[in-house]
């Protein structure tokens, strides 16, 4: 296990639409080879300062899709409850043995207000 020299890579900005089912596919490769998620889990939190806006859990909102690909999925109902704005997020990788926490990437998480609301 190597340790990042520079911390998480910034600039992985996401734009989401309030009230729409949120889906994103993220491929992470190391030297061209897909990263394995067999021995670790991924957590993602969206925050405004210290206030938690949204949290994505492994196997609930974050699914592995093979070959270093993660699929993020948040229901329309959950997205409809969010307040439009620009927030910050990062993706944290947690290993249990040995216990290592490493933040992979970060960026802004912008939520655009919708016009047609969920009935």
């Amino acid at each position: 296990m190597v340790t990042s020299f520079s911390g998480p890579q910034d600039g992985a900005n996401i734009v989401a639409y309030r009230g729409d089912t949120f889906q994103r596919w993220i491929r992470i490769t190391r030297n061209g080879v897909g990263m394995s998620f067999d021995d670790n889990t991924i957590r993602i939190q969206v925050r405004k300062g210290n206030s938690l806006i949204l949290e994505l859990f492994s196997a609930v909102h974050i699914f592995t899709d093979g070959d270093g690909v993660l699929k993020l999925l948040v229901s329309a109902e959950v997205m409809a409850a969010l307040i439009p704005g620009t927030y910050d997020y990062d993706a944290q990788q947690q290993f249990t043995s040995p216990a290592i926490v490493k933040t992979l990437f970060r960026g802004t998480f912008s939520i655009t207000d919708d016009i047609t609301k969920i009935a």
């Binding site: 190597v2 340790t3 990042s4 020299f5 520079s6 998480p8 890579q9 910034d10 600039g11 992985a12 900005n13 996401i14 889906q23 994103r24 596919w25 993220i26 491929r27 992470i28 490769t29 190391r30 030297n31 061209g32 080879v33 897909g34 899709d65 070959d67 270093g68 690909v69 699929k71 992979l104 990437f105």
Partner: protein, 133 residues
């Protein structure tokens, strides 16, 4: 739409691609030679040498010998509707003309295809392997 960021970790190259569409398990790509640097506006000779559907992360072997009588630009094309992949990997059989992990220049889109080409003219005298990241 996709976002690509990269970082370095202990000399390892980390690439992160965020896409609003799924990564296709099978990707169709074309590769070959082009005589001039811009296939968007300049009439030119394009020599198609191969096409295949292959899974991401797999390796294809391209034989560039038959049509490579003179140095030309190497190009590759993939469907523009698929997530952008800027890194192509070659082994050392190309005598250093394309190093491992070299970023190909994205030329633009032609008829729904995103076209990459090498930054300079090259001449291969053997087969070359490529892997899409």
């Amino acid at each position: 739409m996709s976002t690509i960021i990269g970082s370095a970790e202990s000399d390892d190259e980390i690439e992160i691609i965020i896409s609003t569409v799924p990564f296709n398990s099978q990707i169709k790509s074309y590769w070959g030679w082009m005589s001039t640097p811009d296939m968007l506006v300049v009439p030119q000779i394009v020599v198609l040498q191969g096409t295949a559907n292959f899974a991401t992360g797999t390796t294809i072997t391209a034989n560039f010998q038959p049509a490579n009588a003179a140095p030309m630009y190497l190009y590759m094309a993939e469907r523009a509707s698929e997530p952008t992949k800027t890194k192509w990997f070659a082994n050392d059989f190309d005598f250093g003309n394309i190093g491992p992990g070299q970023t190909f220049y994205v030329l633009g889109e032609v008829g729904g295809w995103r076209v990459y080409r090498t930054t300079g003219k090259t001449q291969f005298s053997t087969t070359t392997e490529f892997r899409i990241s």
